[in-house]
């Protein structure tokens, strides 16, 4: 049995997913009795489909050498090209668009509507249309998994929904944007003014030329909205998140906080009654006072009490690892549904 995968979006994350398919497909095959097989790849201007399977290494090499993966799309859309093509899972890893979620939203909706499973790292569609996507999945007997959309490699969604299924989670407080954390940490540790710390983040490749997506809390708010839907069952979107970024954090404020043995961190807080991203004063030594670019989640639960999960929030293989965990979860479910021994 094969699990046929189409990767939509073949940038850093998409190529990372292709790489982990090469590396991990044998282990998944021996664990679940199904072979993970790449049958399609789309980038922003080209595509390749082959029902008999594609060599992921060759696709990565082709993309690196030619800048494309196959024939030009020539105005055709991903849903149009996949309409009559057999596959099982769409891995949707196109870049996040927080304005309207496109093109990822259309890709995911088309796949789910036709009963295909979706695994995604794309925050835009989830932060804007979670309810609609979940309804489409349910209606058509498809599954949607999105561990990679929040926290990169850090397993927060699957931990909360699967492993802590018996717990009541009261709240989650998290640092979900490594760029902001890097900037705030540099301000405190080196006494750099905000602008200088931001420039340093840009030079190191942590921040984009237009950093507003990170420093205005947009990225964190999208993740907060996803957590609110996925873990707390709240029907909300990115627009419902009360959001303040770190643009106005002054060196003077950082110093004043330090004098009180505190650091300033951009914290996302989600609970049944709270949905917010804002700079907060965090005591030094508290889990959320974490430095560097790591992501961290602090869960408050009724039985287990306080729990902290931390890990790498971004990166090619790190994000691909979260995608792989979702693919493995789907394969495990297939295995159980078919009564095969795990």
């Amino acid at each position: 049995m094969n699990v046929d995968v189409v990767i939509v979006g073949f940038g850093t994350v998409g190529q990372g997913v292709a790489e982990v398919i090469v590396r991990k497909a044998p282990a998944l095959h021996s664990a679940f009795g199904e072979k993970l097989r790449l049958v399609g790849v789309f980038d922003s201007s080209s595509y390749e489909l082959n029902g008999k399977g594609l060599d992921p290494r060759e696709m990565i090499a082709r993309k690196e050498k030619l800048g494309k993966v196959g024939p030009r799309l020539d105005g055709k859309t991903v849903p149009e090209l996949l309409a009559d093509f057999h596959y099982d899972v769409m891995v949707e890893v196109t870049p996040t668009n927080i304005q309207d979620g496109e093109p990822g939203l259309s890709h995911m909706m088309a796949a789910l509507t036709s009963g295909k499973d979706v695994v995604t790292s794309n925050k835009g569609p989830l932060a804007l249309k979670f309810k609609e996507l979940a309804a489409a999945a349910k209606k058509n007997g498809a599954r949607m998994r999105f561990e990679a959309s929040v926290g990169g490699a850090t397993p927060i969604i699957n931990v909360s929904r699967d492993l802590l299924v018996g717990e009541k989670i009261h709240s989650i407080r998290a640092i979900v944007n490594g760029t902001c954390n890097f900037i705030l940490n540099r301000m405190k540790e080196e006494g750099l003014p905000f602008e200088q710390a931001l420039r340093e983040a840009q030079e190191l490749g942590y921040a984009e030329k237009d950093p507003s997506y990170d420093i205005d809390g947009i990225d964190s708010a999208a993740k907060a909205a996803i957590l609110a839907n996925a873990i707390f069952g709240r029907e909300c979107t990115f627009h419902d998140v009360r959001r303040v970024g770190i643009r106005g954090v002054s060196l003077e404020a950082v110093s004043l906080a330090a004098a009180e043995k505190k650091v300033i961190r951009l914290v996302a807080e989600v609970s049944p009654t709270r949905l917010e991203v804002s700079p907060r004063l965090v005591p030094i030594g508290h889990p959320l006072a974490i430095g560097g670019t790591l992501n961290i989640f602090q869960l408050m639960t009724d039985l287990a009490g306080e729990m902290t999960v931390a890990g790498k929030g971004a990166g090619r293989l790190e994000t691909a690892s979260a995608v792989l965990s979702d693919l493995a979860a789907l394969m495990k479910e297939n295995c159980v549904a078919k009564g095969r021994e795990l």
């Binding site: 002054s250 003077e252 004043l256 300033i264 004063l281």
Partner: protein, 165 residues
């Protein structure tokens, strides 16, 4: 309100239960009891009781009941439970603005204390102000928070709130 009471009970069986009964019957919550068998004076034993009541009226009813039961209250101290708040505000904040902010916080019911600490950069003139204090009821924290959030929106300064519980 948490109350510490030093009681003097007659050194006869059943007195401790008699002394504690009014606390719970008026809705109080007993936190701790220390019975000093070795401290007997004038035929009475010393007992320290710590309990929580929701109001002054509840405490007065308990004291009245003890009086009726011939239980001496040698010493009584009470302490309100307080809830802390902490913020840093930074940006262009004029002295008038700051005065209005402190006035606003001081007008919140159940405020116990409010304090400020300033920091101004001599080179850039950047200002940051730590605002910290206590309220006597948890609900008052939300009122302080609402006030500061609205003020930050209206005046354009950045509000950095404490992590809270």
């Amino acid at each position: 309100m948490r109350v510490h009471a030093d009681l003097r009970l007659k050194d006869v069986p059943g007195q401790l239960v008699r002394a504690l009964e009014p606390i719970s019957s008026f809705g109080g919550n007993i936190v701790g009891v220390v019975h000093h068998h070795d401290q007997v004076a004038g035929g009475r034993i010393s007992v320290n009781v710590t309990f929580e009541v929701k109001s002054q009226k509840q405490l007065e009813s308990t004291l009245q009941a003890w009086k009726g039961l011939d239980i001496d209250v040698a010493r009584l101290s009470s302490l309100f439970e307080t809830f802390e708040f902490e913020y840093v505000i930074t940006g262009d904040i004029s002295p008038t603005e700051l005065r209005e902010i402190t006035d606003g916080i001081e007008s919140v019911n159940e405020l116990d204390s409010v304090d400020l600490r300033y920091s101004v950069s001599p080179s850039t003139g950047e200002k940051a102000i730590l605002i910290f204090g206590k309220v006597k009821q948890k609900a008052a924290l939300a009122r302080v928070d609402d006030f500061l959030r609205q003020r930050a929106l209206q005046s354009g300064f950045l509000l950095i709130s404490g992590l809270g519980e």
